[in-house]
């Protein structure tokens, strides 16, 4: 059942699809930062939801606002101003005190970053680092150590018991990334936000880490927000995909549909620009120009200077959100209204 049957049946309206129970609901989230001379909007009116156990990917090029969004959900960046609503498991995150938020991060939301070394303390043993979130919560030393061991086992770190007492530098890049994952997972969160978790790794190691994440998310019914610029990774992992361009989500759909029938010109362009290791193509399609800086966002549709389909309206009117017959949530004047 699910998406595959829908595809063979042809077009099915979005509301027919099964949606898991909502876990995270983001409504009109905007993120602003005050620089010396102006207020700059980094992320503009972003709305999306993540269901329990669902794996959602947020893709976009460098500077599109992925990390800023992830940090906002965890309220990690105190320099930015957040507006909108973020509901998580029945709690309004933006209204929590810093202290309540810290508790939330340790217990119900976990996060991993691109560079494992930056999240690890070189002077602390692996076991102590993984157990730390539990210790903060008042779990006894013995129990915390046991649970750290269990998570490392779950992440298939070999001889985990012996390695609890080793230090980060004794681990390879892939192993370090597993340790960082263990730190995020030991508190048994409902949501894991993974920001480019495998970008620094070689493909075979990357595949192992993603397989583990896939397995654990299924076993624990753990929702994952995977942030990446690599559409290949997304295809193998995500149930649903959101494409971000210059601080806005321009398209969102089930993964199968997004890859089979990309609707937004930017999504289409991106997919055609990716070289593939499994087929030879004559020439890649490239998108002319480069993404704009947040402070110099073009008027109307921010993609218009690079878009082959741009019309007069695109330069002045920002496209609203439309749901296409294929169930894509798209921001583009080619769809909707008419």
């Amino acid at each position: 059942m699910g998406v595959d049957t829908i595809l063979t049946d042809g077009i099915v309206p979005a509301q027919v699809r099964r949606r898991p129970e909502s876990l995270l609901q983001v409504d009109q989230l905007s993120i602003d930062i005050a620089t010396r001379d102006a207020n700059v909007r980094l992320v503009d009116n972003v709305s999306f939801g993540i269901g329990r156990g669902e794996r959602v990917a947020l893709v976009g090029e460098s500077g599109s606002g992925k990390s800023v969004t992830a940090q906002a959900l965890m309220r990690l960046n105190s320099r930015v101003k957040l507006s909108g609503r973020v509901q998580f498991d029945g709690t309004d995150l933006l209204s929590l005190s810093p202290r309540q938020m810290t508790a939330m991060r340790g217990q119900r939301m976990g996060m991993v970053f691109q560079d494992p070394m930056s999240s690890l303390d070189p002077l602390m043993t692996i076991g102590d680092q993984v157990a730390e979130t539990l210790r903060i919560r008042g779990v006894s030393k013995r129990e915390a150590r046991q649970r750290a061991l269990d998570v490392l086992d779950e992440l298939k770190v070999e001889r985990a018991a012996e390695r609890l007492d080793s230090f980060p530098h004794e681990f390879s890049g892939g192993m370090r990334q597993r340790v960082v994952l263990a730190m995020a997972l030991v508190g048994e969160p409902h949501l894991l936000i993974a920001d480019e978790p495998t970008t620094a790794l070689d493909v075979r190691v990357q595949e192992r880490v993603l397989d583990l994440l896939d397995e654990i998310s299924r076993r624990r019914s753990l929702a994952v927000l995977l942030i990446t610029h690599d559409l290949g990774i997304v295809a193998g992992f995500a149930d649903r995909v959101m494409v971000m361009y210059s601080g806005r989500i321009v398209e969102e759909n089930e993964a199968t549909l997004l890859f089979a029938e990309p609707q937004h010109p930017y999504t289409r362009g991106l997919l055609e620009a990716v070289p593939r290791a499994d087929i030879t193509v004559d020439r890649l399609r490239s998108i002319s120009g480069a993404p704009p800086a947040p402070a110099a966002r073009p008027s109307g549709c921010t993609f218009h200077p690079r878009c082959d389909h741009a019309m007069a309206v695109c330069t002045s009117v920002e496209p609203g959100e439309t749901i296409t017959p294929l169930g894509a949530r798209v921001r583009c004047h080619l769809y909707g209204e008419g």
Binding site: D202, V203, D211, L284
Partner: protein, 269 residues
């Protein structure tokens, strides 16, 4: 044109020990040919490039360019080598002097190699070259920092190609770039190769990019070339287990492929 002939290299690894970083490497690049060298991090790709350029001396074996040994050439030959062989690195920011304008950067080679003696002649060549890489005349007076990563990489390519080299050696030239911009640079390299008959030695860890750009491919595993053949041989009928494993792990932007592979892996022990 470029012949890497059975070179080996080891580095001291403390306590009198040595680690073998390159083991009997054989690799040729002929005129107009695009050769890809792929391998994981630490496999020795950059070391091969350093040996090919004469920057690192191999322990054994020989690197020659047009029949002349790169590590024992005369001054005259060195000068010709520097003109014929140009480089493009991963980080264009590090390789472009921030205090030089684009015009100065791109025309430097013309001046050094005395290829254009008048300022007007140099400017004409620079403008023509910039147009080829998709930059307008207004770029001439600007500095590298005011360009995006992809634009800087195109400036670096313009700077390398303006003196009409015979061989372009690229070390991960697109791995720092975004997808949409990466495609621009790949297409540019492809055009240069076709239009100018440029030979390319393209080093990368990204197999998809190499498949796209190179007609001959060598696979490096911990300092050894384990597979070497045409693009179709290496990608479609890989013989070596290492190549097969690498290819199976490269993410493919197609959910059906991704799922089928994961199911296959879960069945395997």
């Amino acid at each position: 044109m470029l012949q890497i002939d059975h070179i080996s290299k080891s580095f001291p690894a403390g306590r009198g020990q040595h680690t073998m970083v390159l083991d009997d490497i054989v690799l040729n690049v002929d005129e107009g040919q695009s050769v890809g060298l792929v391998g994981e991090s630490g496999s020795g790709k950059s070391t091969i490039i350093r040996c090919a350029l004469g920057l690192t001396r191999p322990d054994s074996g020989r690197v020659s360019y047009s029949g002349i040994d790169v590590h024992r050439s005369s001054r005259f030959d060195t000068l010709r080598f520097r003109r014929d062989v140009q480089l493009v690195f991963q980080d264009p920011y590090a390789s472009l002097n921030p205090r030089m304008t684009v015009e100065e950067l791109v025309s430097e080679g013309l001046l050094v190699h005395k290829l254009e003696t008048t300022a007007a002649g140099r400017r004409a060549r620079v403008v023509e070259m910039l147009a080829m890489v998709g930059l307008g005349e207004e770029a001439l007076t600007r500095y590298p920092r005011s360009f995006s990563g992809g634009q800087r990489q195109r400036i670096a390519i313009a700077r390398a190609v303006v003196i009409r080299p015979k061989l372009l050696i690229c070390d991960e030239p697109v791995s720092a770039l975004d997808v949409s911009v990466q495609a621009q640079v790949i297409n540019l390299l492809q055009d240069m190769q076709k239009q100018l008959g440029l030979g390319i030695l393209f080093v990368a860890h990204d197999l998809a990019v190499v498949r796209h750009l190179c007609t001959t491919v060598a696979v490096l595993e911990r300092g050894r070339i384990v597979e070497h053949g045409t693009r179709e041989q290496v990608f479609d009928t890989p013989q070596h287990a290492y190549t097969q494993a690498l290819l199976k792990a490269v993410p493919i932007p197609d959910p059906a492929v991704g799922r089928a592979r994961r199911a296959e892996r879960q069945l395997a022990p």
